[in-house]
């Protein structure tokens, strides 16, 4: 049996002819399995959606209750069958509710890992490798120049800057779903106990994380904060707001950006960042290799990112490897694509 009979690429995304469903389709389809809530993977308008309960909740927050015809909640490790194909969700460690989806059919196992990160994260269930024949991996940071530093050291850059410039607000650009909450959790672990000010675009998702038992300490809407409360405060906002008119309400801020891209100086400079925080929710070069090895797979398919380098490495390791050249992924969370701010100078508070 060829693995392509179980799963192959189509213009809408990965499709299973055996089970008649898509994984993370980029356009509306009849039946979709969704790995996680980032909008490049989770889109509105499908007929039926199977995803982790938390992913379904996040989709409802972002798109409204009627985002799909019907929904079905999955649980980590619990196998279900879809048209005879076995489907099991496993933790991906990327954001809250993120999952790898393992398909088994006629003795062949394929794992579509979505976005994943083996590193520790207090806001996500830890990544668990799954044995399989074919492992489908992203390669957002698939170059040997990407070795993510220890997250606590990056947060220490922020707290020591707060100590050195206590009169200046520290604007931290961070993606609204996942990265923002991880930054808050890391700050709390580092002992930062002041209220954290939030851009309007991240309030609802942050409240949702709290309902899932994740302690993020006290947060307040940035727009309601007084000048005294803004001085020396951490203010979280979507990356696009850093250079937008929204940021003008903070006199003389320190501009930080939490992203794996901050590793590359030209990227940080291009965005006018003064305090780059190298904090990623994707696997780095070493982690990609370790994750692939841990699955014991014979074949690697690379969805998006730095496919060439990862395929080159895998081939040298004696694995069959090929790029899938998938488009439409990595665009939302500011880690897959260059973090260019949004185009319109309209009110950024009205973001999704």
């Amino acid at each position: 049996m060829r693995p392509e009979e179980l799963l192959h690429t189509t213009p809408q995304g990965l499709y299973s002819p055996a089970g008649d469903f898509f994984i993370d389709p980029t356009r509306p389809v009849a039946r979709a399995l969704v790995t996680h809530g980032h909008s490049d993977h989770a889109r509105a308008g499908h007929g039926a959606v199977l995803a982790m309960a938390q992913t379904l909740d996040i989709m409802a927050i972002r798109y409204g209750e009627g985002f799909a015809g019907t929904t079905q909640a999955a649980a980590y490790g619990a196998r279900v069958e879809v048209n005879g194909v076995g489907v099991t969700f496993h933790p991906a460690g990327h954001i809250l509710g993120s999952a790898q989806i393992a398909l088994d059919w006629r003795g062949c196992t394929i794992v579509a890992s979505g976005d994943y990160k083996p590193g520790a994260d207090p806001t996500a269930a830890p990544f668990a490798p799954v044995r399989c024949h074919v492992f489908i991996s992203e390669a957002t940071f698939g170059l040997p120049v990407f070795r993510h530093p220890v997250p606590a050291d990056e947060i220490a850059k922020l707290t020591s800057s707060l100590a050195l410039f206590p009169e200046r607000a520290h604007l931290v650009g961070a993606y609204a779903l996942g990265k923002a909450q991880r930054v808050m959790a890391l700050l709390r672990t580092a002992g930062h106990d002041r209220p954290i000010l939030l851009h309007g675009a991240m309030e609802r998702l942050t409240d949702y994380y709290r309902t899932q038992g994740i302690d993020l300490g006290e947060t307040r809407p940035a727009r309601e904060a007084t000048a005294a409360e803004r001085a020396g405060a951490v203010v979280l906002c979507p990356p696009g707001a850093l250079n937008d008119v929204w940021s003008r309400r903070f006199p003389d801020p320190v501009t930080a950006f939490a992203s794996g891209w901050m590793r590359i100086r030209a990227r940080a400079r291009q965005n006018g960042v003064e305090l780059p925080l190298i904090l990623s929710d994707h696997a780095d070069w070493d982690e990609l290799q370790a994750a692939i090895r841990a699955t014991g797979c014979e074949e690697v398919w690379v969805t998006h990112g730095q496919e060439d380098a990862l395929v080159h490495w895998a081939t040298q390791e004696g694995l069959r490897a090929r790029p899938l050249h998938m488009v439409g992924y990595g665009e939302e969370e500011g880690e897959g694509a260059a973090p260019e701010p949004p185009v319109s100078p309209t009110n950024p508070e009205a973001a999704p």
């Binding site: 050195l164 030209a266 006018g272 003064e274 040298q316």
Partner: protein, 564 residues
């Protein structure tokens, strides 16, 4: 080294001067001797690391990584040192040992021979983290750009205690790395370091540019005027050394010792004292253009022929020290009288003369002299006059740029009407504004060609207006750059003032502008009526001075907006 590297990394991103001072002071505060002293030496440019060529770095990384992965990575990152720093495969286990301190790195790099360089460098890279490797590679390839001047680093030393930056400057020339006595004194733990140098540099006094609005507030009777010469500001110091032998030094205005390049001047000094003046080339008693001076500055070897062909000269305008007596606390008029008497008493065969005063009673009279120096006493040297200097008769010689006592009033700059083509976001306080502007003029074919880039000259209110215009009239984006509409009927005309024009093969227009700034926004003018390239080309022909670019190392190049 990792901590120092982290400081360099942070400085490279910090746009504000005060922010940089605080970061450096904080580092000094938390770093023990002698490590912080070596860091100070590196920041002030007092360390010279052995030069490593990019070829060596490529060779080292080539021996350790897969060529395909290196090529993909280099292509992606775009900078060799940074690529190597990030992908260097540090052996496991070595990370547990203490990373090498900066002092050890300085020691290793100064004492190794050329043949040992690859092995020493590799072992250092093995023991540093990513940022440490980046900083080391940048230091040894000379590519570190963090926007920190020696003055700024000394200001950070001063910020450790109650000292003023100028006090640090005063003791600096006699000190050497790792500066333990300096730190002890700055922190109030030790005595003032004794300077060993008999002829140290004295920090210079600088002026502010005069604006039209300033005249109403200034009384002409309170000022004296001098010509502003188009040469290089220097300080000549001569004093008796320990064994009674005289030491003569020539300093640039930033305190760099440039005596070696001007042995002819050192010989000519016949008295002990410190003179502030302009370095010029004189031939047959006539001041030559800056272009001629530049030719002497560009030569590395000071040959007898060079000394003959380009005889150096100092035109003196202030006296800071006479004999052993410090005159800086005297008013300008008293220092001037002492200077005149001293020069009259020591004829120096044309090597040193007095910069004359320009007589005037009203601002209008001075404006006339400034407009036509030849007819007002500058005579044949008029071409080397770039304006006038105004000095209050009661002004003490204060280091730095105090506002009020000294003014410079340059001759009118050129200006053209150009069309805004591209705008880029600024840095620091301006990062939410499009504040860097590329502008162009029309070619004969009716096409706009960029002729320069300006990022100052406008008011805060004008910045807001331009920013709004840019956001509403964007036609294209390239990363942080926006292209704005620029057709003959639609677009924004900027009146751009500049100091000079030069031919340049690097620009499509064939021209390069010196110090362009936005003088006015011409909302009233349709872009089609902006200036043409021919007009600018004609200006080059009219330039009485050959266009020039001062040698930055001598501190002549001003940085009008460099420290926003």
């Amino acid at each position: 080294m990792n901590r120092f590297a982290a400081l360099l990394d942070r400085l490279a991103y910090e746009p504000r001067r005060n922010g940089k001072v605080r970061l450096i002071a904080d580092y000094f505060h938390h770093t023990p001797d002698p490590e912080r002293g070596w860091a100070l030496a590196a920041l002030t440019g007092s360390l010279s690391f052995r030069n490593a060529k990019p070829g060596l770095i490529r060779q080292l990384i080539g021996e350790r990584t897969d060529p395909v992965l290196f090529a993909l990575s280099y292509d992606y990152v775009g900078d060799l040192s940074e690529t190597v720093a990030l992908m260097w495969p540090a052996p496991h286990g070595l990370n547990d040992t203490e990373p090498p301190p900066l002092s050890a790195i300085v020691h290793a790099l100064t004492h190794m021979g050329r043949a040992e360089m690859p092995a020493v460098l590799a072992s250092l890279l093995d023991r540093l983290d990513e940022t440490g490797r980046w900083a080391l590679l940048k230091l040894i390839t000379g590519g570190l750009r963090i926007g920190v001047s020696a003055r700024l680093a000394k200001t950070a030393v001063a910020a450790l205690g109650e000292r003023a930056p100028d006090e640090i400057e005063l003791v600096w020339p006699g000190l050497a790395a790792p500066y333990e006595e300096l730190f002890a004194w700055a922190e109030g733990r030790g005595p003032k370091p004794e300077t060993e140098d008999p002829a140290p540099f004295r920090p210079v006094m600088l002026s502010h540019p005069l604006e039209d609005a300033d005249f109403d507030k200034l009384d002409p009777a309170a000022f004296r005027a001098e010509w502003k010469w188009d040469g290089i500001r220097v300080q000549a110091a001569r004093a008796a050394g320990l064994e009674g032998r005289h030491v003569t030094r020539l300093y640039s205005r930033t305190g760099e010792d440039i005596s070696g390049a001007f042995p002819d001047l050192a010989e000519a000094f016949a008295f002990d004292g410190v003179v502030d003046g302009e370095l010029l080339i004189l031939r047959e008693g006539r001041v030559q253009s800056f272009n001629v001076l530049q030719q002497r500055l560009n030569r590395k070897v000071v040959s007898p022929r060079l000394l003959m062909e380009f005889p150096a000269h100092i035109r003196a305008y202030d006296l800071l020290v006479e004999g052993g007596e410090d005159l800086r606390e005297l008013p300008f008029e008293a220092r001037r009288a002492r200077l005149e008497a001293l020069i009259a008493a020591h004829p120096t065969e044309g090597r040193l003369d007095l910069s004359p005063l320009v007589p005037f009673a009203t601002w209008d009279q001075l404006a006339a002299a400034r407009a036509d120096p030849a007819a007002h006493g500058a005579g044949e040297d008029a071409e080397a006059v770039e304006g006038v200097m105004l000095k209050r008769v009661d002004s003490l010689y204060l280091p730095g740029r105090p506002k009020g006592p000294w003014w410079k009033w340059k001759r009118d700059p050129h200006s053209v009407d150009a069309v805004l083509m591209y705008a880029q976001r600024g840095h620091g306080k301006r990062s939410s504004y499009y504040s860097d502007y590329t502008f162009g003029v029309w070619t004969e074919a009716g096409e706009l060609v960029p002729v320069g880039k300006a990022y100052f000259g406008f008011t805060d209110a004008e910045l807001v207006e331009i920013d709004r215009f840019v956001r509403r009239h964007t036609v294209n984006r390239f990363g942080p750059v926006r292209e704005v509409v620029h057709t003959p009927t639609e677009g924004l005309v900027l009146e751009v003032a500049f100091e000079g024009l030069a031919r340049s093969t690097r620009h499509r227009s064939g021209l390069a502008m010196r110090f362009p700034r936005i003088a006015r926004l011409r909302w009233d003018k349709p872009p089609g009526e902006a200036d043409r390239l021919e007009t600018l080309e004609r200006m080059i022909g009219d330039e009485s001075h050959a266009p020039r670019r001062a040698k930055a190392v001598l501190g002549k190049q001003p940085s009008p907006a460099g420290e926003m």
